[in-house]
Symmetry: C2
Subunit: 348 residues, 2 copies
């Protein structure tokens, strides 16, 4: 599949170095490896720690073990007939690039980052099945934990309860450290769960995701402890409406930046523009953040099969914040919301 694309990238070999792409291509789940693809062969290289494991996991690629990663990869490439070696510009550090370049003889190194980033963006049926399972595990875990959350509970303990519940249900892990940010801390869009106690009448942002068979889920619920006041209701409704309108725009052919424009425009119009700083969404799959990027800077065209988040938010320093995040799957004529938890205002 990738082999066929080498000519269009004007290369006759491709070096794959990011773990997610390595897993996507080879099924290898370890933490160290490189793949070399030429029109005639595909080679997977790893270190001795993974010699046995790779025999079980890696199918359809020749397996080789390296001692010194860059040196051994360079000497292998030097034996190939290929002259133009594509590599992941975002998947190689500057230092590794320099080392490799120095060791290669009569070869050109050509970055092909963006094209590589895109290879995973359209999910197939099997990937969707796994992603849906990851989403379900997060939801089940969250519901199990939420029943035990009461004012007085510490943010960190709340995150721990959710994590345990997800793992007990079979999650391989958390997709990222669960965010629990309550009261004024809800103004930190990425506030890690802290030692702060959740108090009555606070907004609480919970951003969580499960990992299952390598794939991630990602969603955010904001709830309020006790009867919401006017401002809490107004901010919540603004975010919820921005979220809903953004989702309504999602369909094949639309620009990513347009989806962001709709969410941002709505929040701006409501007078909260300066309190929504981050992008509207991002792709989710083997990486928690992957192609496409749903932001004002990205004119990428949305395609059927993409899975990404829609997650507008309002964060008011000293007051708190609201974020509402769902994962959507782009369908033939629109999109399907994959996440299961309701995003109506939840009062605990």
């Amino acid at each position: 599949m990738i082999q066929e694309r080498l000519p269009s990238w004007k290369i006759d070999a491709l070096l794959i170095t990011t773990l997610e792409n390595i897993r996507y291509i080879s099924s290898f789940t370890g933490s160290s490896g490189i793949i070399i693809i030429t029109p005639y062969q595909a080679i997977f290289l790893t270190d001795s720690r993974y010699a046995e494991q790779s025999k079980y996991e890696v199918k359809g690629l020749r397996i080789k073990i390296y001692k010194k990663q860059i040196e051994d990869v360079a000497s292998l490439i030097n034996k190939l007939k290929s002259k133009c070696i594509g590599f992941e510009g975002k998947g190689l550090t500057y230092a590794a690039y320099c080392k490799l370049k120095k060791l290669l003889q009569g070869k050109r190194l050509i970055p092909v980052s963006e094209d590589i980033d895109k290879i995973r963006c359209r999910k197939d049926a099997n990937e969707l099945r796994i992603i849906k399972k990851a989403i379900n595990l997060a939801a089940v875990g969250f519901h199990k934990a939420i029943n035990r959350i009461t004012p007085g509970m510490v943010e960190r303990d709340t995150a721990f309860e959710i994590e345990m519940a997800m793992k007990k249900k079979g999650a391989q892990g958390i997709a990222f450290d669960i965010i629990v940010a309550s009261g004024k801390r809800a103004a930190f869009p990425h506030g890690k769960a802290s030692d702060k106690k959740i108090r009555k009448s606070e907004m609480v942002i919970v951003d969580l995701g499960a990992k299952y068979q390598g794939y991630n889920s990602d969603e955010t619920c904001t709830f309020v402890t006790g009867k919401p006041n006017k401002e809490q209701k107004r901010v919540y409704k603004t975010v919820k409406d921005a979220h809903d309108r953004a989702i309504e725009t999602v369909r094949p052919g639309v620009k990513a930046s347009y989806i962001d424009f709709v969410a941002r425009g709505f929040i701006k119009k409501a007078g909260y523009g300066k309190y929504f700083g981050h992008g509207t969404g991002h792709g989710v799959g083997l990486a928690v953040h992957e192609w496409p990027n749903i932001s004002s800077y990205h004119d990428d065209i949305v395609e059927e099969g993409m899975v990404f988040t829609i997650e507008p938010g309002i964060y008011i320093p000293g007051w708190g914040g609201v974020r509402i995040e769902d994962m959507v799957l782009v369908t033939k004529n629109g999109c399907e919301i994959l996440t299961e938890m309701s995003k109506e205002m939840m009062v605990l």
Copy 2:
């Protein structure tokens, strides 16, 4: 402190991009940021998600918010008088380097990777206190969980028990996915905990670490379920002796490669040389793997205050394996073993 070192690196500004170094310098705990240091000022940049959080965490640096990371950093650098901009070659992707280089006007970009890697290698008293706490949390968690482990238990559940126990005791998280590899799977040095049941008379490798206030611990225990047979005893004793001898060599002034040579030589002499493929150890701190590297390829000189692992292993395909790992602190005249768990053969 770092400002004083700029002239020796022949630079008049330094860009810090790895999260561990950013945390080390600024105390920032978030996931996105850059630091620029000149002889006259230190600036911390992050995105809007961390605008509030950075006000609380970052001390002694000017805080700025970027919208487009590389673009905004470049425009800030372009306003500086500095001409030679040092950067972390291992902390910037090739793609980011190219983008930055293109945007800079009349500036030179100079990689200073290795020197930067070393800034965190000697731990101060406060860091040691935190690391010891991380080690203690892992040990307490492990002991609590180990009592519940019996043949018939699934590897994954064992890992989960340990993780929960560590977190209940106050660990911020796991340092890495806990490895539980039993029976033949113990021949996978980095075998993730799987759905396999632990059976009687198996060697079980458990590699675990806790995270506390950003710092990590890392240690490995190998135990046997039921009375060990001759071969199990022999392999265990070989690894244990190699481990002990390597630790005896640790003192300021010794080469990292010599420590590896001692461990490897002993295992070779016992006839298991080809079954020990990985390095003997690595530094541990804000990163699980950091400077120094204790391997045959690294001639770095060991210094007082360094904290690293000693972790020889023997992995026999189809049979299983043993790894024994401790963390040591280099003292004035030798070293202190920081890990608390005994490494005598444990029979469950």
